[in-house]
Symmetry: T
């Protein structure tokens, strides 16, 4: 099964610098472990801080190239109707994930443009949210 | 691992009657499958339409009796600050689940009193949301 | 025709005590008169102050046991999404009634969770609102 | 008993044209049946698309000429404070009716200027809402 | 000096009927007294319950025919942007009057579409509000 | 092709008086030019300041008499749900036009009751907005 | 007749300085003319920029010392519930005046704490608003 | 003097478990001390997590059985219009108490359905709030 | 124990004039009785209608001079962030009191700037609210 | 006449894939037809999913290079103040177009940052909206 | 260059008491350093807790006596339209300063009545905000 | 001291074109003068219209490469939570600057996502705002 993980703005900082803020694990290390846990699946990865690049990637992958997309749109979750439109347009199921529980944070982060157009949503389990999203995609 | 699933109001109708609305599978059948999938864990189950009974159950279980609680509070998700206070009070981690993607439904269902006090939240994967919650609890 | 009348919180006080507030007629007396007016129909009655008990009653009756339900949910009209979900779930038509004109009262009572899921709504005619609801059910 | 039915804007289209939208029965046909059902009462009828004409009619009839007014103000229900003032001013009781359940429609139709100044309100029973209003007026 | 008084919806009831509500004096009687108080001025009068007729009258008079307009738009004060546009369009100064203090009434009457396009506003002095408006026009 | 142009409140003032406000061209002059530009089409014209008369005209024309309606409802655009209901009811396509860009004006003019029930909307091109609407109707 | 005029914050600048903003006439000059126009009445005057001093003055005068108070509370109109409470407490009628039409200004100036507790309100007539208020008080 | 203390949802946890959260004193211990401090009064106690049971208790006690009720409705303070209706219905004075200062907590806890129907309100003094309520009741 | 009572705007009128509004007892008389009830404590008193004078008094007393402050800020409760800042700044505990139940009054009085920065809040017990505040301070 | 059409996010999918959603015609095919319809004009085309690239293009073209810009900003219409600023800054007239009637869609799409800074706005005519915009530009 | 610094309510406590809250430096000490840093300028200082006194000071200084005013209105920033009117009225440029970053504090402190009428605004640099304001004034 | 200035969307037009709008000075000219004024500091400069490029630049510079960042995010100030997250993530202090006083402009520009995560904020001093920000950074 081909799966694409897309990370949005500022998520390139995960575990690389500012470990006290973003945790000890870099996303690359986590990705390695994740791939080991699902040896029969191909998990590709894309990160960008540019809203339009994320849209391009969703277009490029979402019409048959991958079976499902796992999307952590970071702050664009709360401001980007354009990414939400891209998610609506493609055929592949898209699952929204968040590392932290966004409902514990400031109120601007309680509204998601992405959530209503995704298949489902997983948040609050740290990096394990991505693993759960893979589990979910495999069962769909 | 001892896990408790709590279902709130109207979820007793799942798969028993009105199958076109609530799906073919009754929750009892689903529970049986779920227990088979996790043979090493003990999964107990409680359903009530009464807000206060759900609070009582959370109190009774959340101080050591179970390792984690999976809570689908149904419509109380959106109206019960009292259940949210119970979740905050207990020691056991509580995971919010929803069968449907609540963000696709009417706007009154977009706000959750429960979400900000739970460890994490999973919604939109049908009954599989419960399985993912078990997966998540086991990894915590 | 089997008809069920459900009264919600505080409506047990009708005409029994505090007659200056709730009117001279107790609901039991009124019910007797109502039954005499519709001698060919069976009108059963249920009152509870507990939200979940009202949900249970709707479930129990709404799948064939009665032809229609007349529901005065009292203050739960304005706060209970869970009762509204129960009304949506059952097959029997449900008619919302109110003794007073709720739009003449405080603004919190202008919004009804129940109204959008009922067949129709009747308010402001005193106890006669229940009689009109029976009339309506018989014509459906 | 003299009763006046007033229909507001666009209700002249009922059953005459666009039957798929407004139902098979024209209001004239319905009125004929209604008059047969209440042979001892005189039911007069007025329809206008002009807000001020409805106010004039309420003034003209509401000071003794009729025993009660049944008012379906159509879209003016939600925008006309002036009709509400006319209802407040006259002596005759006024009953608000709606053919459809307005609470199932767009949110702009959930607020009624008319409801707080009427004796009572009946909505959602199709054309039968008018018959129930006659029943209600006779009991007042 | 030529002055036009325009009264909006329901103001035809003033002092004619329902004297306990609208006061003892009919507007015709008041107008007679007002004309005596200002013998050198010509005060004409127009009342309509129809929004568009009030607009027509403002157009007809406001381009030179009268020196000023005194407008009590009744409930249209709070709902008619179209009358406000007519007031903006004409050359004659328009003064808003209200018999009662509209700020003591329900909140829907606190907002006026008419006020921002008038020269000035006088409210709360009973019928004397009209006399004050004449005084004000003469001083402009 | 039969086309009807309907102008709402205050639009009778266009170019007739207050030319500095409404422009040099009267709507009659403009209409003449418009008819010359589309010699094969019959363009009829109706203006009223009365909301209900506009509704009557829409009813009268919208069931087959004309191929399309061009509607500039003036200030009623922002306050009349009743005209919107009339537009929804008829079969003929209705196109909303505005002479000025309503989004550059006060915020009360940013919301249109008419827009969501029209086929399309054209605003901001001065009187040329009407010509563009004719162009659009011919292409439908 | 004893009448007290109270002017609130910044109104001491009227006509003294910044004449392009506040007009050519100082309030003292205007007061002189006003007193000449009403030779049989005693018009006293008080101005303060301190909210509490205005309250003190209302208390001191409003229990019999003057027949009526004319109050231009300036910016405190929109922020001072305490002055409104003082107006409510005293026996003397209080009339709200404003020099400019406050509804033409920023939206924060559209709400008045003072208006609902005054007898009446006059705004938009320049300094002549005070004269109209004297006229109104004499007629009460 | 007979006094009833009613505690709402989650208040059964006070001092029993989670002492770091709810304080060292259990409510039973506190009650004992309170009874000693008022040896001439009978202080009964009721706790429930069920909204409807609290309503039942208020009905049962509020018509003569006790002289006054001290009500800490916990989270139901902010969500239960039904308990507020029960408080309105009974004859006995009801005093609202809160252990913590609810205005220092999240904004959802700033609004109380209970406060406007109680005689008075006491919050922020820890368990001593109950003692102050007894003091208040004795003085009424 | 040294205690300071501060009363805000308009509270100087208590019981002195307008007894039907403010009650029969003047605050001076009440203060005498209060001092007799607590003979071992020194209760000083300050009243001002000036926001800044109340701030000055809080500064002057709140750094050691008194053990606690009882503050009835009157209408400033709802408008003065500056008094709230003064309360936050001082060391002495401050208790908010209100004579009437502010939640039964207009909605502008439901929000308090003072409440979140006080130790606790007591309202609705008439002048006895002050006595309860003294009781509370002595127990802190 | 040189005209530039700019399409925003997701509009690259038009007619290429997902034809059931976006229509049968690709924008390239449509563009060919459009150019044929206006053989004397040069119509250039730019599409990007990146907000900043659209701003760059507007800067580059809007100072003399083209006579007018036709802008369909897609979802950025509702979220991009930065594109609106770019439109304000350039000299060339900009016309807003939308393929669908945005007022029939979710409420987030009813507000446009772009509309108030454009010359005019055309929406709801399918791809023909672009042709009408060219017609409009040629007449300016 | 003559410069006036005005500090509003509670800013008299700076560095004098509660040093852990307000910092170690008293404003007098800071002022001394500031004057040394700008030896060629005369920096006068005024502090008051009374809104009206601040208005008086702005009037007295703002018509020529000083070249510029630096205003930290403390909590009045967020509640005083009257001080904002005073700032608008005077000729001298006024610069708003805040010691802390007001946008990091409670939401009531995010809105400033003062900001829109000042030349510019500086916040968040501790006491250095005043120095930057002097720098800014010298460059104007 | 190494300082980075980042300018957001449309700020590339400053002084280059449309000088009547953006002022006579290009930012390059201004930068030259600024560097001369601070000869001991290295001031680098970055401008982009792309949100994600600004985020990349903040990441690249904010972990040690520069001592401080001066950020004028233009319209992204009001719409970009993602840039705000980048500012929060880096170690370097960030100062928000605006050329104009944003509080004098439309209300959408009164809210800043950037302000609460910056050290401080300076607006309204024209290009001199940047110089003041350098002054501020040097004093931190």
């Amino acid at each position: 099964m081909n799966i694409l993980i897309i990370n949005g703005p500022n998520l390139n900082l995960l575990g690389v610098r500012e470990k006290n803020i973003y945790g000890e694990t870099s996303f690359d290390n986590y990705l390695e472990k994740l791939r080991k846990r699902f040896p029969d699946d191909t998990i590709s990865y894309f990160q960008s801080n540019i809203e339009g690049d994320i849209i391009d990637k969703i277009h490029e992958s979402g019409f048959g190239k991958v079976k499902g997309i796992i999307l952590n749109a970071g702050a664009y979750t709360h401001t980007s109707l354009a990414i939400a439109d891209a998610v609506s347009a493609v055929k592949a199921p898209v699952i929204e994930v968040h590392i932290s529980n966004i409902f514990k944070r400031e109120s601007v982060r309680h509204h998601s443009f992405i959530a209503p157009v995704c298949t489902g949503s997983i948040s609050g389990f740290g990096l394990d949210s991505y693993r759960l999203a893979v589990e979910a995609l495999k069962e769909l």
